[in-house]
Amino acid sequence: MGKSFKILAIPYQVWLSVLVFIPLVAMVVISVTNLNSTVTLSELQFTMEHWVLLTQRPTLIAFRNSLIYAGSTTLISFVLGYFVAYQIFRLRIKNKFIVLTIVILPMWSNLILRTEALLNIFSENNILKSIMGFSLFGNIAGTPTAVLIGLVFTYMPFMILPIYTALEKIDYALEEAALDLGLTPMQSFWKVVFPLSFRGVVTGSILVFLPTMAGFAIPKILSKGRIIFIGNIIDTKFIYTNYNSGALLAVILLIFILGSILLMTRFDKEGETLL
C-alpha cells in the first residue's frame, strides 16, 4: 500500500503519547512529591514520605499475596489451559470461530456478577446444594482456595486462546516429519509441538499473571476482604483520596508490568498471539 496513508498513523502516535505518557509521568511525579489538590505549584516539593508505606507490614504482605496468588494462578491455568487448548486443537475443528465462542462466551457476562455467583456457590448454603442436596465445594467462601479457584477459572480463557492460536499455526508437516523420523508421539510433542507453541504460552502466562497480580475485585469478594492484594491497598488509597500513596504503589506495579512486556516482546515481536 502506498506511502500516502502514513499520515493516518500520526494522530495515533499523538493519541498514544498523550494517553500513555502524560498519565504515567503524572503518576510518577505524584508519587515522589507532595502534590495534591490543596498544594499549589509554588509549594510543590520533592518528598519521599509516601515511600514509608513500602516498608510497612500490610504492604509487604499485600505484595507477597499478589505475587504468590498470581504465580499459582498462572501455573495452574497453564497446565489446565494448555490441556484444553491442545484437546481442542486435536479435535481438528476447521472452524476457529466455534472454538473462540466456546472459550470466550463466559467472558461476555459481567466479571463482578460472575464472581458474586461464585461466592454464593462457595458458601455453606447455596443454590446448587438446595437443588442437588449436596454441596460441590463445601464452605470455602473466604478461604485462599476460593480465591484461587475464582482467579484460575476467570482468567483461564486468556491462557487458552494464545496457546490455541500458536498451536494452530504449527505446520502439520513438521509433526509428520518428526513421526517419520522415528519419534514417538510423546517425543514429537515435547520436541516439536511444545517448543513451537511456546510463545503462545508466554503470551498467555503474561495475560493471566498481570491482571491477577494487579486485580482487587476478585480477591476482595471471594476472600470476603480477608486476603489483601496490592490492588486492594491502591483501592483504599483511592477511596480516601490519598493519591500520592496510590500512585506510588501503581508505579511499583508498573515496573513488574514493563518487565513482563519486555519479556513478551522477546518471543513475539508484533503481539501476533495476543489475539
Partner: protein, 293 residues
C-alpha cells in the same frame, strides 16, 4: 501351513516385544474427556449459577424455591439497575463505534509505515492491553484530575468514553493489522492505476478487503468495553455508574436484586443466538460461493 503331526510353540505377540496398551489408552482417553469437560464446566459454573438464580422464585439467592420468570419483567421496574444498564450501553456503544472507525484508519496508517517504525508503534499499542487495568485506570484518573481546574465536572460520561477508547482501539488495530498484511498489495495499485483517488480507493477497495478484521475488532472492543470494571471504577464520577460499578457497590450492601441475574442471562442468550446466526450466515455465504465455482 502347518505340517501334520508336528507341533511347535508359536510365539505370541507379547514375546515379540508387543505390549498391549489398548486398555491403558482407553483409560487415559476417558480421563482426558472427564478432565476436559470438568474444566469446561468450571469455566461455565458461574454462568450456570447466574441462570439458575434468575429463574428462582425466591429473592434469597442461597435457596431454590420454585421456577419463576418474574425477575425478567422486573428488570424494567428496578430503576437503579435500568440506569446502570443504560449507562453501560451508552458508554460501550459510543466507545465501540469510535474505536472501530479510529482503529481501522490508524491501522492503515501504521501499515504504511516502515517495518521498524511500525514495530515501535505496535509496542506502544500493546501498552494499554498489557498494562494492568488498575495502573491504566489510576493514571488516567490522575490525568483527568489535572484537567479539573479547567473542567470541574469532567468525570462522568466523557472520562469514561475516553478511557474506554484508550483500551479498545488497540484491540481493533491488533485484529485489523493481520488482515491488512494478507491483502494483495497490487489491489491498491490497481485501483490507483484505474484513476481512483487514494482515499476513495481506501474506502472502496481496502476496507472491504479487511472487513472481517474490522468486524472481529469491533466485537472485541465491545466485549472489553461492556465488561470493564476497574478502569471505569477509577474514571467515573457524578454518580455515572455502569453495571459493574453498580453491582460492586451493591454486593457490599448485600441486597442484590435477582433481576441482575435475569439481565445477565438474557445478555448471554442474546450473545449466543447472535453468534449462532452469524455463524449460520457465514456458512450460507461459503456454500453459495462454492456452488458458483
Amino acid at each position: 501351513m502347518t505340517i501334520k503331526g508336528v507341533s511347535y510353540p508359536v510365539a505370541t505377540l507379547q514375546e515379540y516385544g508387543y505390549r498391549d496398551y489398548s486398555k491403558f489408552k482407553a483409560v487415559v482417553k476417558v480421563l482426558k474427556t472427564v478432565l476436559f469437560f470438568s474444566i469446561l464446566f468450571m469455566l461455565y459454573l458461574s454462568i450456570i449459577v447466574i441462570a439458575i438464580q434468575s429463574i428462582n422464585a425466591s429473592r434469597i439467592s442461597s435457596s431454590f424455591s420454585s421456577i419463576s420468570l418474574t425477575w425478567y419483567p422486573n428488570i424494567f421496574q428496578e430503576e437503579d439497575l435500568m440506569r446502570a444498564i443504560r449507562n453501560t450501553f451508552l458508554v460501550s456503544s459510543i466507545a465501540t463505534i469510535l474505536a472501530t472507525i479510529m482503529g481501522t484508519f490508524f491501522a492503515v496508517g501504521m501499515y504504511s509505515l516502515t517495518k521498524k517504525k511500525r514495530q515501535g508503534l505496535m509496542l506502544l499499542n500493546n501498552v494499554p492491553i498489557l498494562n494492568a487495568d488498575i495502573v491504566t485506570g489510576f493514571s488516567l484518573m490522575l490525568m483527568f484530575r489535572l484537567l479539573m481546574p479547567l473542567f470541574p465536572n469532567i468525570f462522568g460520561l466523557f472520562t469514561l468514553v475516553m478511557a474506554h477508547l484508550f483500551f479498545t482501539i488497540p484491540y481493533v488495530i491488533l485484529s485489523v493489522m493481520p488482515k491488512l498484511k494478507e491483502t494483495d498489495p497490487n489491489l491498491m495499485d490497481a485501483a490507483l492505476d484505474l484513476g481512483v483517488r487514494p482515499y476513495k480507493a481506501l474506502i472502496k477497495v481496502v476496507i472491504p478487503a479487511i472487513k472481517a478484521g474490522i468486524f472481529s475488532g469491533m466485537l472485541l472492543a465491545l466485549t472489553m468495553s461492556i465488561d470493564d470494571f476497574v478502569i471505569s471504577y477509577f474514571n467515573t464520577g457524578g454518580g455515572f455508574d455502569n453495571l459493574s460499578i453498580w453491582i460492586y457497590a451493591v454486593i457490599g450492601r448485600r441486597n442484590l436484586t435477582p433481576s441482575v441475574y435475569a439481565f445477565s442471562t438474557l445478555l448471554t442468550l442474546f450473545t449466543l443466538i447472535g453468534l449462532m446466526v452469524y455463524q449460520f450466515l457465514q456458512r450460507q455465504k461459503k456454500g453459495r460461493k462454492s456452488g458458483i465455482l
